[in-house]
């Protein structure tokens, strides 16, 4: 089922939770809504579910305007962060609930309902736990029950609100992989909300990065990481180094020193690059130069914190091979190989990069 959002907006009182935005989700896609808290990602999910009504705009399920249907009739499977299981019902009753509340005409028989619920419990790898109450299950098991309950209504869209947010790291990783499998086997259009970029990048076909009620970028994990559309995305996804620079006569300078990078335009700007995308090969008198303040081992690399300039000026972090030994006070000179320029921060309109350079 395609889901199409057209110029949708949501205000709570006088504050705008979502500014006008549009989004196309293709049938069978696995989409992550990623952003910090307060970015409007959960509001967007709840609008799609029908748990909130938009202040403006339309939500389309396929060719049908979903706004005309109340949440009961939308057939969306919704999984809550804190499971929201019915605690006075057994696991089996929870999973059967969606079928047993159908109008009499379309309600399956009791034995058919039971058969399908048991089948779903097998599917979510909880066979034999149908007689338990939610209080007798672990967090990961509860979330599986919640998913089985949502799948039981054969949803047109599956929506998950921070589905792994309340679980510990190991369980999160297991469930993440497992959710991907579930998605691939059922083929449901799936949208999930998360603030964990690792989760979004690992799991989703496409990631929607949100900030302050706006969509910053929509793209595959590669696109989001390698071609961030805004300073926010660059800073939010992965590791970033951010440095104020000036541009003049086609040259980028930091604190008066040329970086050995070329760009059009003039005036103040902000340079973003990844700590590991640097080169130590620079022409004399060019590049960023700093003294080592501290260093630590990060995976296969050594992360070095440098103070640029004499009097403990700007601090930046770069990655160098772990085999290379450094000590505090050493001078290191480098230049970014892969970088982007964005206008001075807080220049609200022009989030777009001025200049992009790939080595």
């Amino acid at each position: 089922m395609d889901v199409t959002l057209r110029k949708i907006a949501k205000e709570f009182g006088s504050t705008a939770a979502l500014h006008e935005l549009s989004l196309d989700i293709r049938s069978g896609e696995l989409i992550a809504l990623l952003g910090p808290s307060g970015s409007g990602k959960t509001t967007l999910l709840r609008l799609i579910a029908g748990l909130e009504t938009p202040s403006a705009g339309t939500v389309m399920f396929g060719e049908e305007d979903a706004a005309r249907r109340p949440v009961q009739d939308r057939r969306v499977g919704f999984v809550f962060q804190h499971y929201a299981l019915f605690r006075h019902m057994t696991v089996l009753e929870n999973v059967s609930f969606g079928l047993s509340v159908r109008p009499r005409a379309s309600r399956p028989t009791a034995s058919e309902t039971r058969r399908r619920a048991l089948e779903l419990l097998d599917f979510v790898q909880l066979p034999g736990l149908g007689g338990r109450y939610p209080a007798q299950l672990s967090g990961g098991q509860r979330q599986r029950v919640a998913l089985a309950r949502a799948l039981a209504i054969e949803p047109r869209v599956l929506l998950l609100d921070e589905p792994f947010g309340a679980l510990d790291a190991q369980v999160r990783r297991d469930l993440r992989r497992w959710l991907r499998e579930v998605h691939d086997r059922t083929g449901h259009t799936t949208i999930f909300v998360t603030h964990d970029q690792e989760e979004a990048m690992e799991l989703a076909d496409r990631v929607v990065v949100m900030s302050q009620g706006r969509i910053e970028q929509v793209g595959t994990p590669d696109e989001i990481h390698d071609a961030p559309a805004s300073a926010f995305v660059h800073g939010f996804i992965g590791e970033s180094v951010k440095l104020p620079v000036e541009i003049g006569q086609g040259i980028i300078r930091h604190a008066g020193r040329p970086l050995g990078l070329r760009a059009h335009g003039r005036g103040a700007s902000t340079l973003y690059f990844r700590p590991h995308e640097i080169s130590r090969i620079v022409s004399p008198g060019e590049g960023l130069s700093g003294t080592v303040v501290s260093y630590r081992r990060v995976g296969g690399l050594r992360r070095v914190e440098l103070a640029l300039g004499p009097d403990d000026g700007e601090r930046v972090e770069i990655d160098i091979p772990a085999g290379e030994q450094v000590s505090t006070g050493d001078t290191i000179t480098f230049r970014p190989t892969n970088w982007r320029l964005y206008p001075e921060p807080a220049a609200d309109e022009g989030h777009r990069p001025l200049e992009v350079k790939y080595a």
Binding site: L129, S138, A150, I153
Partner: protein
């Protein structure tokens, strides 16, 4: 995947290890002494009194027709009133918890009035209203409906005094209901009525039972508000607590204690039953029992 919580275990009869927080012995001692002095000693006094009657004499007194009629009226009226309060008290609690309207605080305070008012005042007010020459009674009289001086009047008075018990026990639990549970029910296709009947009410069961038990207990023991409106006609509208007072005034202490012992036994077994039902429903939610 973590290990599942253990299934509910059979109770083991031993003191729970008090842990490192001090004061267990002191607190437990005070609790026991207090309960014995304040509750157990007076109540066992009734049993010793009635026991001194001897079984046959006790049975004769307890099985007296007038006594049985009074007990029947007391318990059936309290039961009906508690049921009515269960329904309407839940409704009141729902309105107070779920809706924001001008004057909500006033309504909220109003609920407590039956707690605060001397019950005799309530009894007199109700009698004035429902007596055949009162405002409401005067309207009902031509229709052939009598409230005052019948069991209906007793039930009415008990509804009045019992209402706050249900509202005040259900209200806080209702406030705790997770909104997401209702939303989950809605996304699964349940209509509003189905959500209320199948999701919300069952999760309130323990609180509803407590409220019902409190209202019932209060109704059984109520005296002040009832005696005015009841008319106290033996075999028709005479409640057991009043009969005890009547026997006392006749210096018929054995009969008074016999009725008291009967009331005590019935009340205790009722509360025990309700507690048992409650413990069962609590177990489901995984609470420690």
């Amino acid at each position: 995947m973590g290990t599942p919580a253990p299934a509910v275990r059979a109770p083991v009869w031993r003191f729970r290890k008090p842990g490192i927080i001090p004061g267990f012995r002191l607190a437990m001692t005070v609790t026991l002494v207090w309960l014995v002095v304040m509750i157990l000693v007076p109540l066992s006094g009734i049993f010793f009194q009635s026991a001194s009657l001897g079984w046959e004499k006790f049975a004769a007194l307890a099985m007296d027709r007038r006594t049985l009629a009074a007990l029947g009226i007391s318990f059936s009226s309290a039961f009906i009133a508690a049921l009515v309060n269960l329904v309407f008290g839940t409704l009141v609690a729902w309105v107070l918890v779920r809706y924001r309207f001008p004057g909500r605080r006033v309504v909220d305070a109003l609920v407590d009035l039956p707690f605060a008012l001397p019950t005799a005042v309530a009894g007199i007010a109700l009698t004035a209203l429902y007596a055949p020459n009162g405002w409401v009674g005067g309207l009902l009289e031509p229709l052939g409906i009598r409230i005052s001086y019948t069991q209906a009047g007793i039930v009415l008075a008990l509804i009045f005094v019992g209402l706050p018990f249900v509202v005040r026990t259900v209200q806080p639990v209702m406030e705790e209901i997770d909104k997401e549970v209702e939303e989950a029910s809605a996304t699964l296709g349940a209509g509003r009525f189905q959500t209320v009947a199948r999701v919300l009410l069952p999760s309130l069961t323990p609180a509803l039972l407590t409220g019902f038990a409190l209202a019932l207990a209060r109704g059984v023991g109520e005296y002040g508000s009832v005696i005015f409106i009841a008319g106290n006609i033996p075999y028709a509208s005479e409640i057991a607590p009043l009969l005890i007072v009547i026997r006392l005034e006749e210096f018929n202490y054995p009969a008074a204690t016999a009725i008291a012992a009967m009331m005590l036994a019935i009340s205790f077994s009722m509360l025990l039953l309700i507690n048992w039902v409650q413990a069962r429903s609590r177990k489901r939610y995984g609470h420690a029992v």
